[in-house]
């Protein structure tokens, strides 16, 4: 029997009346962890819920079946959208397997680890930050103790854990540096052909202070960069295993023109013929860099533009202006076959005038052929923006028919411009509603005044579906990588 069951519960699953849309991505985070555990001598039983087939996927029964025959230690990775479901579903699992040590990882519970442990006594521990070394130390401590209960885990940095009736948050773990020291993901656990999005990262962490960002705080706003040699090595490995298109999903890919050009040069020199996509940053991508990327196989560059209002961009500390964004994207559409622009809307301080500037920016970008990816603001608990809400957190409103796109749980049914919650899933949404401090990303600021009027305009201009408008389905949904686990 394996030493550890490592389960990926990160997934994007959108249910419509007549169909289901999924983006099945390589579960990169758990694969990195699996690799470290195996290098430390642990046998890992790797499971990916994205590939688990069930008519009703989001039930306790399904999770019980998925985790059937677990190892003594079970690590589950999830993101914020599936955190409520994961917590509820593992309750039943733990009841059936009380002897198992159950720990959560991933960014789902970031910054609310103590609260989750206090309210979910079936969870034994939660990892904080990078998991590669933490999981190895945690598993080693449990193995050394020879038991799963009553083990002193106070020396394992980077976890919150249950010590009897007490919840203890240990000292944080330092970042792994250099990041090249981390072994490549345990690709031998997956069949690449089953995944539509083949992800990679060229860096970990981002130094920019954008107040809405839920990723940079997890890494302490400190970036660690991989070497060009290491990146090309992994790209080659993936290509040899059949990958034709690689999605770089790290936010800090374009950390500097010099580094990107060095990477592009290395790709060209090794003759690697693979297409790839990456995130750009408006103020870090110059023409020469973009041309080098295109020459090295980059077919799509994605920008977090966020807003067309300079006032909002300044308020969220984005670091560039709307005009700069237009200029850079204008250049990018002449270079790359695909250019994406992510926009956020629904900021608490975003006036209708601000929003109209954003809408016009979106329309202008769309005219150039930029693919527009709008997102309703989701205030996750680790964000500066959420912290800034302060006493206004009490004004957050819960409207289960209207979740930000990053917070879809797969338990909603979308259709005819409406979202409905099936009665069998009511418990999940009731759980969310009762715990706004754990799951603030599901809540909105001023639905009537801030969200609905803006959503109506976005729908009118075709950026969201609209009731009564004929819509047709295309052949396939292309993975955009924005939801990669």
């Amino acid at each position: 029997m394996a030493d550890i069951t490592l389960a990926n519960l990160n997934m994007l699953y959108v249910r419509y009346i007549d169909r289901i849309e999924r983006e099945i991505h390589l579960p990169l985070g758990p694969l990195y962890v699996a690799s470290s555990l195996e290098r430390a001598g642990f046998e890992v039983d790797f499971r990916d819920y994205q590939l688990f087939e069930r008519a009703r996927l989001f039930t306790d029964d399904a999770i019980s079946d998925f985790l059937q025959g677990p190892a003594d230690i079970v690590f589950v990775s999830c993101m914020a959208n599936l955190l409520p479901f994961t917590l509820l579903a593992t309750r039943r699992f733990k009841k059936e397997h009380p002897e198992v040590f159950l720990a959560l990882g991933g960014v789902g519970a970031a910054s609310v680890e103590r609260e989750v442990l206090e309210r979910c006594p079936w969870i034994d521990a939660i990892g904080i930050g990078e998991g590669e070394r933490t999981t190895v130390e945690l598993a080693s401590a449990l193995r050394q103790a020879g038991r799963r209960r009553g083990v002193d885990l106070s020396q394992v940095a980077g976890i919150a854990w249950r010590d009897g009736d007490r919840v203890v948050v240990n000292a944080p773990r330092g970042r792994i540096a250099p990041v090249d020291a981390i072994s490549l993901p345990a690709y031998h656990h997956v069949d690449l052909k089953r995944y539509r999005g083949i992800n990679m990262i060229s860096s970990r962490g981002c130094p920019f202070p954008c107040t809405f960002c839920s990723v940079a705080p997890v890494w302490g706003r400190h970036p660690e960069l991989r070497s060009a040699q290491s990146i090309v090595q992994e790209m080659t490995l993936l290509h040899e295993r059949g990958a034709e298109l690689i999605l770089f999903q790290d936010e800090y890919f374009v950390s500097s023109a010099g580094r990107v050009q060095e990477l592009c040069s290395a790709i060209r020199q090794c003759g690697l013929k693979v297409h790839w996509k990456a995130f750009g940053r408006i103020d870090l991508t110059d023409l020469a860099t973009m041309e080098a990327m295109a020459d090295a196989g980059c077919v799509e560059l994605r920008y977090g533009v966020e807003s067309g209002s300079d006032r909002v961009l300044s308020r969220v500390r984005k670091g560039f202006t709307a005009k700069q964004a237009s200029e850079v994207m204008s250049a990018a559409v002449g270079i790359f076959p695909g250019v994406d622009a992510f926009y956020m809307w629904g900021f608490p301080f975003e006036t209708m005038e601000d929003f109209q500037q954003t809408l016009l920016h979106m329309i202008s970008s769309r005219t150039m052929g930029v693919r527009i990816l709008p997102s309703l603001l989701s205030m996750l608990p680790q964000t500066q923006l959420y912290a800034e809400l302060g006493g206004d957190r009490g004004k957050l409103e819960f409207c289960p028919e209207m979740f930000p796109e990053y917070m879809l749980t797969g338990q909603e049914v979308c259709g005819d411009g409406r979202t409905r919650i099936a009665p069998e899933y009511e418990e999940t949404f009731s759980f969310i509603e009762r715990n706004p401090d754990l799951f603030p990303g599901f809540f909105h600021f001023d639905v009537k005044g801030n969200v609905l009027p803006k959503h109506r305009l976005l729908s009118q201009f075709g950026f969201y579906p609209m009731e009564g408008r004929t819509e047709l389905l295309g052949s396939e949904v292309e993975c955009c990588g924005a939801h990669s686990p």
């Binding site: 237009s326 994406d340 052929g369």
Partner: protein
């Protein structure tokens, strides 16, 4: 305490942030902003008007704006509008598939009158590809001999690019865009089977140097175009309107002889004193000039010049036809099929 919103008040689905790969009829969306922005991007002479008064600029081009669009444009500063028009690069690509991807293509299609679909929600880079075929493959942008051109292909060229067909290279007037040439000529192109290459010569302010270069490049443009889409030998035609007429004159009638079969001037007049000193104006005439079909309105101030030019050209052995139309050339409703028949056969 948080508040729960009643579900039935205004139920909506917010599912974005990812490509939804849905398409809607363009006519179901307000696209006036995209249209006027596209036109302003293509025509520098429209940008000032767009920046100063976008509503009036749209109206002058027959672009309908919905009230919401008017409100959006009204509250946008002039400098922002100008920057938008200057930065709006209308996607160009040799690839037809790439061309039909962006929404801008839909807007182009609206302007040129063909039906397109566009993706809703997250639109743009994913192509809408009904039945696995290529949608709207008869129009595209091409970079040819250093010039941005909008190309319309007839059915024969679409089916077999190696099959030679005649070609019409067209230049629009100031205040128009290269799309207007496709509007003018596409019915005739469909009927008689020729390709249209419309040069986007007003995207940037056209200096005299740029005009001279374009005049010199006219032959090269079709030489390069012919490498991809075969041209029937001896059947290269030119069309110019208003301010483009002097460019065509210089490119087709002066200097080295080109293999142009015929030229049509839709108003405008080449540089020179055609009434007072036609011989001087014809001093640089090349040998074997192409046939000229000259359209001029009876109320146009340049009618006398047009008459004098055609007469002078005739005396040099060129085939000419002056078609006087009632009123001004700009407002005349022209029969482009009839013009094409003359250009093709000189009859």
């Amino acid at each position: 305490m948080t508040q729960r919103k009643a579900s039935s008040q205004d139920p909506v689905t917010i599912v974005g942030g990812r490509p939804m790969h849905r398409a809607v009829e363009v006519s179901q969306l307000p696209t006036g902003i995209e249209q006027i922005l596209t036109l302003s991007a293509l025509d520098c002479s429209l940008r000032d008007r767009f920046a100063a008064d976008p509503i009036a600029a749209a109206a002058s081009k027959g672009v309908r704006l919905q009230p919401t669009e008017e409100a959006l444009l009204r509250q946008t500063p002039a400098e922002t509008l100008r920057a938008m028009a200057e930065q709006a690069v209308i996607p160009r690509a040799m690839s037809r598939r790439a061309f039909v991807k962006p929404v801008a293509a839909s807007i182009v299609a609206l302007i040129t009158g063909s039906a397109f679909l566009l993706c809703s929600g997250c639109t743009g880079a994913d192509s809408w590809d009904p039945d696995g075929g290529e949608a709207g493959t008869d129009q595209m942008w091409m970079q040819i001999a250093g010039h941005t051109c909008y190309v319309y292909l007839c059915a024969a060229s679409q089916q077999d690019p190696t099959k030679p067909v005649p070609v019409l290279l067209a230049l629009h007037d100031l205040g128009e865009t290269c799309l207007s040439n496709v509007q003018r000529w596409r019915a005739a192109a469909d009927k008689y089977g020729f390709n249209i290459v419309s040069v986007n010569w007003t995207e940037e302010p056209a200096t005299q140097q740029a005009k001279d270069k374009l005049a010199a490049d006219l032959g090269s443009i079709l030489d390069e175009f012919g490498k991809t889409y075969a041209i029937t030998p001896g059947y290269r035609h030119l069309s110019g309107r208003g301010a483009a007429t002097p460019i065509l004159w210089k490119g087709a009638f002066e200097g080295a002889a080109h293999a142009w079969r015929s030229v049509v001037f839709l108003g405008g007049v080449p540089d020179g004193d055609w009434v007072g000193a036609p011989e001087t104006a014809l001093a640089k005439l090349s040998s074997g000039p192409p046939a000229l079909y000259y359209v001029m309105g009876t109320s146009d101030a340049q009618l006398d010049s047009a008459k004098a030019l055609t007469q002078a050209l005739s005396t040099k052995g060129a085939t000419t036809k002056l078609a006087e139309v009632s009123g001004s050339t700009a407002e005349a409703v022209l029969d482009f099929s009839a013009i094409w028949i003359w250009l093709f056969s000189h009859e």
